[in-house]
Symmetry: C2
């Protein structure tokens, strides 16, 4: 039960430290996801729907291919989820005027309402953790997480908000 400690191993601290980081990430993500999952079930939706609603809400007018690149899933996987959200009027598509192959996705009022409902809970969880930890810890949190993300995708992240 107790983590096995290898005494007199100079690498112990480092290994232990890294494992703790992995566990923190696992537990944090698990709990971060759990609340919205439960709410989505009432709509007959799942986690995948949440991700689509979130990123479309965050990037109004996003194209299908950009969404695929963010989610890193296949077109066929997205299709089922996106199709449901379109049919049930949570998301609308319009054709891009400059390139008419493109479909630009946005949330409807109904979609925005659900988005807020789901995101609010998660935002509260983060806000509580941020408040308790303080500004300096928050900066550290952001810096380390950025470092964990693949370099190619760091650019996708919004820049830090300026303070003042």
């Amino acid at each position: 039960m107790t983590p096995s400690k290898t005494r007199a191993n100079p690498l112990f601290l480092r290994d232990e430290e890294l494992r703790q980081a992995m566990e923190l990430l696992f537990y944090a993500y698990r709990d971060f996801i759990a609340e919205p999952d439960a709410m989505l079930a009432k709509y007959g939706f799942g986690r995948a729907h949440h991700r689509v609603i979130y990123f479309v809400g965050r990037n109004p007018g996003i194209t299908v291919s950009r969404l695929l690149a963010i989610l890193k899933i296949t077109k066929q996987s997205l299709s089922r989820v996106l199709g449901q959200l379109l049919r049930e009027d949570f998301i609308v598509q319009r054709t891009d005027r400059v390139d008419r192959r493109r479909r630009l996705l946005s949330l409807t009022a109904k979609g925005e309402e659900l988005e807020r409902l789901l995101t609010d809970r998660q935002a509260k969880r983060i806000a509580r953790a941020y408040r308790q930890a303080g500004a300096e810890a928050v900066e550290g949190f952001r810096t380390v997480l950025r470092g964990i993300i693949n370099e190619d995708d760091r650019g996708r992240l919004a820049a830090r908000p300026e303070r003042g």
Copy 2:
């Protein structure tokens, strides 16, 4: 494409800041998981096998019910995965002497080898991020992640390693 900014909204910064945190968590977890996933596929295993191997390796002699509490999945879900790992000799069970209902789980040599293979990659990713971010940022990272985790489970996390 560009996140829509609501000017003159005093809540903007806060909302933006919280959304960035959510996205950092999403991208970091997505990339953190991706490498082991690809390696596991070669064994005919998936993410669920990894989690079991990881937590059994980390807690030698763990009981089935403790493992279920960590993973927060059902017994039936665990059963399929654990059964495979037992049959293919990655994990062994022995009966607890003091309470013979309990099955104590541990990795075999083969299991430890796979565990190391999988964990090493992830550890390297974390180590790189830690190195780049510095000790202070690491402390902040840990503090905020702890705050995100449900209170009941914070006790499950190992205490900070002492420095010196």
